[in-house]
């Protein structure tokens, strides 16, 4: 008898359940859906604003419903997850080397967090909070 290589197949719909690390990856990818949805909300808000005070007030009221609060909390959680997972891989994608020494990953990651805080603070300041 001769060769008969056996090919194992992977389900194209449920492969990501096979390993915890695939699930984590999916969570990172899926988290962008909520971020996308939130962007949609902001766009709607801008539209309302352009339509006048009444429209804007209606939008603000809608934002205050319990469902909307829950949505915001969820979106925040996913945005944080999305951001931190990407920050944590930046040293891989953008390694820095000065002369002979490799910049430690923690510094590159730290710089991203620092940048995040500075920009957030600047925005808040601009918004007059």
């Amino acid at each position: 008898m001769s060769r008969k290589p056996y090919i194992r197949t992977l389900s194209s719909t449920s492969w990501w359940l096979a390993q915890p690390r695939y699930i984590r990856y999916m969570a990172r990818e899926v988290s962008c859906v909520l971020i996308g949805a939130y962007t949609g909300v902001i766009v709607v808000g801008l539209l309302r604003l352009s339509e006048g005070a009444n429209a804007w007030a209606g939008f603000v009221a809608a934002m205050q419903t319990p469902a909307s609060v829950v949505f915001h909390l969820l979106a925040l959680a996913f945005a944080l997850y999305h951001t931190t997972t990407w920050f944590n891989v930046t040293p891989k994608a953008m390694p820095l080397q000065f002369g002979d020494t490799q910049v430690p990953g923690s510094i590159i990651i730290g710089a991203h967090y620092a940048g995040w805080i500075v920009i957030s603070a600047a925005l808040l300041l601009l918004a007059g909070v």
Partner: protein
């Protein structure tokens, strides 16, 4: 039988085989090359070499120095014309590797860095951290991919050289994934199958180092030269035999016994200071260091562990930064396999079988006595290593003699206008196939591969280890003869074709038995002590009788016959080997 016709067959895709293939492809792109290997090229054991490759690099060094270190390191059993050629070609070949991208470690001004090695007077060992063989093998393999004339046959186990009218005209090989025997017809054949450390139980050699090519050439009528010289490396990890490179002593590591005492000073290798000194103490040659361990053990000054006695290799004073930069693999291996972090604790080590100085008898052009047949690398004996190889000469030897074999075979192939007759070579191949089918037909003999292997390993260690006597060697020769006879009674449990490793292990065992017998009988006949061959009953070197190469010829079931040939001496007369403070 399916036949492939090519110009040159190379058996073995380790450092030597790949270098030979590239040399042929560069010298004539029209020559077709079949490169056969029983493992994928990057699995070849060259991958395990750690320390480095020797070649004169510094202004204050000279070819003469490298020559003298090599010849005295080999206890004057080296052929001096070959050594001259070797040291002269060495820097060129290593530079060629650099041009092919080998990531040699560098000095701050961007030049290739060199480190001290045992028995070498001046730093001349080129290194790529402590993964030199790995980087060389992968560089060669990757470089070889750009030559379309190199056709690879990965996982083809070669069983026999095919002889027609006294010349080697091809090989028979088993395609492992189908189990089919294939015939390769060629104008020249190069054997590059590596060493045979697996003949012994405790070795740095990987599972594939079973002396296949040595046995093939031997059975085809080429003598095995200087087989009694087997190198013990002084620093292997207990249990696994994993190597801790000599480079760790080159970087400043020291060896101490159970009292924390640098015992090498008691064996004509001292004084211990000032440190580091080349060719002294821990940077003495391997044979001397392994022998010193044996004496310490006899004196009860070693440390006992469940895996045998050890001494300590202390690297702590080098500091974490240097260890990480120069010896990262050593650190990783020690932590993983013996649970010792060399930054914090000394590493337990003991001598371990490492290298076969002997091998297929070739001349300075890597040619054997059989027309059309070449050999290079650890399987060959040119001989530049004599009675004791200096660390880091072997990786360079692969390059120098690998490319020489390649060019030589190319010339032969270009001179031969036609291939040999199909029917003649098919007949030879059928005989090879019959041997393999014969193995399948054995039933009820009751011998097992693992059982025979164990018996071979233990008799070789007992009788032909670091120190040998007439009695121990005679016992081993008799036992090995019995093992050879018992081999006819092994039963293959696996009768299938696809990737039958039971069959391959049986073939490998057959090769090892023949090689082991050549080692034991050659050792019995050499009634002197020289380099790695130490006899308790003949403790002196005897130039009168034995400044000669031994040549073992295959005699089937009988013990091999052993002849001798004078060593080629051109400009260095045999003298005492002096290391440590007594050096001039």
């Amino acid at each position: 039988m399916e036949m492939t016709t090519t110009d040159i067959v190379i058996v073995g895709a380790g450092g030597a085989g790949l270098r030979a293939a590239i040399a042929i492809a560069e010298s004539n792109p029209d020559l077709k090359i079949a490169l056969l290997s029983k493992v994928y090229p990057m699995r070849s054991h060259t991958v395990a070499a750690e320390g480095g490759a020797a070649g004169v690099a510094k202004d204050e060094d000279s070819l003469d120095n490298h020559f003298n270190d090599t010849v005295s390191g080999g206890d004057w059993l080296c052929d001096q014309d070959a050594v001259d050629l070797f040291v002269e070609q060495a820097p060129k070949e290593l530079t060629q590797m650099e041009h092919w991208g080998c990531p040699w470690s560098r000095t701050s001004d961007g030049k290739v860095a060199v480190r001290p090695f045992g028995g070498m007077k001046i730093e001349r060992t080129w290194y790529a951290a402590d993964k030199t063989g790995f980087h060389m093998l992968h560089t060669l393999f990757q470089t070889s991919m750009q030559y379309p004339s190199i056709e690879r046959y990965d996982e083809y186990y070669t069983t026999d050289l095919l002889m027609v009218d006294g010349a080697c005209r091809g090989v028979a090989a088993i395609e492992m994934r189908t189990g089919q025997m294939r015939l390769f017809r060629a104008k020249a054949v190069i054997i590059c199958t590596g060493g045979a450390g697996r003949v012994f139980p405790f070795t740095t050699n990987g599972a594939i180092k079973t002396g296949d090519g040595m046995a093939m050439a031997y059975r085809a009528g080429v003598a095995l030269k200087d087989m009694e010289f087997v190198q013990y490396h002084p620093t292997g990890l207990p249990g696994t035999g994993i190597l801790i490179t000599e480079g760790s002593r080159g970087e400043g590591g020291i060896l101490v016994n159970n009292d924390g005492y640098r015992y090498l000073q008691d064996y004509n290798l001292g004084p211990p200071d000032p440190w580091p000194r080349k060719k002294a103490m821990e940077l003495g040659p391997r044979d001397r260091l392994s022998q010193a361990f044996w004496h310490e053990q006899k004196k009860g000054r070693t440390i006992s562990t469940p895996h045998g006695d050890v001494v300590h290799l202390d690297l702590r004073h080098l500091g974490e930064k240097k260890i990480n930069e120069r010896l990262p693999m050593v650190r990783d291996l020690a932590i993983s396999y013996v649970g010792v972090d060399p930054v914090k604790e000394p590493i337990p080590v003991r001598p371990v079988v490492h290298y076969t100085m002997g091998g297929i008898d070739t001349d300075i052009d890597a040619k054997t006595a059989v027309p059309g047949l070449f050999a290079a690398g650890e399987c060959a004996c040119v001989s530049i290593n004599g009675a004791n190889r200096l660390g880091s000469n072997s990786l360079t030897e692969l390059l120098v003699f690998g490319s020489r074999a390649g060019r030589g075979a190319a010339e032969v192939a270009m001179a031969e206008s036609t291939h040999v007759d199909e029917s003649a070579i098919e007949k030879a191949a059928e005989e090879a196939r019959a041997k393999v089918t014969g193995l399948f037909q054995n039933v009820g003999g009751g011998e097992t591969i693992s059982g025979l292997r164990k018996d071979m390993n233990s008799t070789m260690e007992e009788g032909a280890g670091i120190y040998r006597t007439e009695e121990s060697l005679k016992d081993t020769c008799v036992t090995m003869k019995e093992i050879h006879a018992r081999f006819a009674n092994i039963d293959l449990e696996d009768k299938s074709n696809v990737y039958n490793t039971d069959l391959l292990q049986a073939l490998e065992l057959g090769a090892m038995i023949d090689v082991a017998r050549a080692m034991a009988v050659s050792a019995l006949n050499r009634q002197e002590s020289r380099g790695s061959h130490q006899r308790l009953d003949f403790v002196e070197r005897d130039d009168e009788k034995f400044l000669r190469h031994s040549l073992a010829s295959y005699a089937g079931a009988d013990d091999p016959g052993v002849d001798y040939r004078d060593v080629v001496i051109t400009r260095s007369q045999p003298a005492e080997r002096v290391y440590g403070g007594d050096q001039k």
